[in-house]
């Protein structure tokens, strides 16, 4: 009995935290899951079924394409940039500034990035006008910035910095002793990379790429700021469903779409966690 009383006393101060998290995180999530199969109190799989029809399926495909492409681009280019940063002197001001910039662009930029590219390659963008004056080409003409290819470019702008932030700890975890041990045992630079560095970095690299995928898949602000009409990708389709009551013949379709999003992101993040755990065991 005393044990139970003690447990209760220990848990009491944690209640405010649990309450806030419950109301503002758990409840919305559960609402989404439940409401995607319960329409007006009636169990129905209609909403979920509608996920696999025309527009919704296209939006999903586009989202996957966008996320996959920017994840790959971001991972490769970001890894290179991360290596550049790691191999420069540690406490330098340049390094701090670069990492701060990466943080801002990767996580807090959303809307601002959309306007950054509008200002660069939009209809009246700085680069557009330069190129027009210099070569007579109109690079913004077709409005491609507001299409999938435009989104790929803009998304890369925050995917690369995110990769830098996520991958640098792995690069820094590569101990000098391993390279020196490999070299003293007769390994050439290429052999060291092939046999030691790349195998050690691969889980971290793949994990980071997965993180980039989830990040792009769930991203909303940038696309919403650039694309005001139409719903080429899943997040924008959710917007449409929230703004108008009935979309694709389904009321409350937003719930099903949101469920789809959680499922994809959760699966990807699960895989990411498994990879990161292995990497952390080796590289820290």
């Amino acid at each position: 009995m005393a044990g139970v009383g003690r447990r209760v006393r220990e848990t009491l101060p944690l209640l405010p935290f649990f309450t806030v998290v419950l109301i503002f995180l758990i409840v919305p999530t559960v609402t989404v899951i439940v409401s995607s199969v319960y329409a007006d109190g009636v169990f129905s799989l209609d909403r979920i079924a509608a996920l696999f029809t025309g527009t919704a399926l296209t939006a999903l495909a586009n989202s996957v394409l966008l996320s996959g492409a920017t994840a790959v681009l971001g991972a490769l280019l970001g890894a290179v940039m991360a290596w550049l940063i790691v191999s420069s002197p540690p406490a330098s001001m340049v390094r701090r500034a670069v990492l701060s910039l990466c943080s801002v662009l990767a996580q807090f930029g959303g809307v601002a990035l959309a306007f950054a590219f509008l200002a660069t390659v939009g209809l009246n963008g700085v680069l557009t006008l330069w190129v027009q004056q210099a070569f007579g080409w109109n690079i913004a003409g077709s409005g491609w910035l507001y299409s999938l290819s435009g989104l790929i470019l803009v998304y890369t702008y925050f995917q690369i910095p995110l990769m830098v932030i996520v991958f640098i700890p792995a690069l820094e975890g590569l101990r000098d002793q391993w390279r020196e041990a490999a070299v003293s045992l007769g390994a050439s630079t290429w052999a060291y990379w092939r046999e030691v560095a790349i195998p050690l970095l691969t889980p971290a690299f793949l994990g980071s790429a997965l993180l980039l995928f989830a990040n792009a898949f769930a991203a909303y602000a940038t696309a919403a700021a650039l694309v005001s009409q139409g719903s080429p990708i899943l997040p924008l389709l959710i917007r449409a469903s929230l703004v108008s009551e009935v979309v694709l013949g389904q009321a409350g379709f937003a719930y099903a779409l949101a469920l789809e999003m959680i499922v994809v992101v959760a699966v990807v993040m699960l895989a990411y966690n498994l990879l990161v755990r292995r990497s952390a065991r080796w590289l820290s």
Partner: protein, 349 residues
């Protein structure tokens, strides 16, 4: 000496290494006989690790040469020097099993899988870790990891074995066991070895010869017993073993202290007053009711005890003796202090 001397000779000639204006190494010259284990001993920053890394090819000397087996290897890259190296810690590849770690060097030399595996297994047997063949580094203790590192370094049959403070990261008890293990293996295989450490007990215990270094220079290179008994410079006398500093008068190659005259070692002050460096075990205590010194305190250290005595001039001197003998002395007892016959180094005050 009866050992399997199959190694090669190593010659470091006048090595200097500058970092900007700092001299990490200042004209180091060292000759290691085939099959010999030389320990480089000194405080951090004395240049011992720099010397080792230059020998390994991981660092470049500003001037001076390195010869192995009579051949100048100064321009040879580290990967081609055929040397086995054991680092202080964390050098095992975490993604490979113990067996693959040990076989790594053989893989780099293009040996067939069958040969690699059997040779690696032999090495693991040599260090007594056959039971752990398929484990990963994270599953092993610090001492076991270092034994694997040793097996890995020896698997390639290196001409020289280099150990960079291999025991510093380990617990005291493991350290003692492992250093004997390393010495046993080294004697069995007969590889010329350079062992770097800051722990003087370690150096004295494993080495054929010990080189004491300070500020990039070699202060003295001698067998452990010689180093201990006849230190060549004040630094060596101070660094190796414990010391009392007793006022002494030097003249004609002899030092007078504590009422006794003993030889003054080469390197002492040539004449006049100085401080003699006396080992605690060389200090003798005799209970004497008319004695001018008195026992200040006694510390029981197990097999031996240390008795601290206050001299007439107020200074303290430490005497070391078997605990059974030390039992006779209690704080406050009057004693007479003397020293064993034997040379002392007298340094300037």
């Amino acid at each position: 000496m009866s050992r399997n001397a199959s190694g090669v000779a190593v010659e470091l000639s006048d090595l200097t290494r500058l970092y900007g204006s700092t001299k990490a190494l200042d004209g180091l010259t060292l000759h290691i006989e085939p099959g010999e284990l030389v320990a480089l001993l000194g405080p951090s920053g004395c240049g011992k690790t720099t010397a080792l890394r230059i020998l390994a090819g991981l660092d470049e000397a500003t001037s001076g040469t390195v010869s192995v087996g009579g051949v100048d290897v100064s321009g040879v890259p580290a990967s081609k020097r055929d040397m086995g190296m054991v680092f202080q810690a964390y050098s095992l590849f975490p993604h490979l099993t113990v067996l693959d770690n040990v076989a790594f060097g053989l893989k780099m030399r293009g040996k067939a899988k069958q040969d690699r595996t059997s040779r690696a297994a032999d090495m693991l047997d040599l260090v007594g870790l056959t039971a752990h063949t398929h484990k990963y580094a994270s599953e092993l203790s610090g001492g076991q990891q270092q034994r694997v590192a040793l097996a890995r370094a020896l698997a390639i049959q290196p001409r020289v074995l280099l150990l960079d403070e291999p025991l510093s990261a380990l617990d005291a008890k493991v350290r003692t066991q492992l250093r004997d293990e390393i010495r046993r293996v080294q004697l069995e295989v007969g590889t010329t070895t350079l062992f770097v450490t800051h722990d003087q007990e370690e150096a004295l215990a494993v080495a054929d010869r010990v080189g004491v270094m300070s500020q990039g220079r070699l202060e003295q290179l001698a067998a452990p017993a010689e180093l201990y008994a006849n230190p060549a410079t004040p630094f060596v006398a101070d660094f190796v073993g414990l010391n009392n500093k007793v006022p002494a008068q030097v003249s004609g190659g002899r030092a007078v202290l504590l009422g006794v005259s003993v030889p003054a070692l080469a390197g002492s002050v040539s004449s006049g007053a100085g401080l003699a460096m006396v080992r605690p075990e060389s200090v003798t205590l005799t209970a004497d009711r008319a004695g001018t010194s008195s026992v200040s305190s006694a510390s029981f250290l197990g097999a031996i005890s240390r008795v601290t005595v206050a001299m007439p001039d107020g200074s303290l001197i430490n005497a070391q003796m078997a605990s059974s003998v030390a039992r006779a002395f209690a704080p406050g007892d009057p004693v007479t202090v003397g020293i064993e016959p034997g040379g002392v180094l007298v340094v300037a005050t």
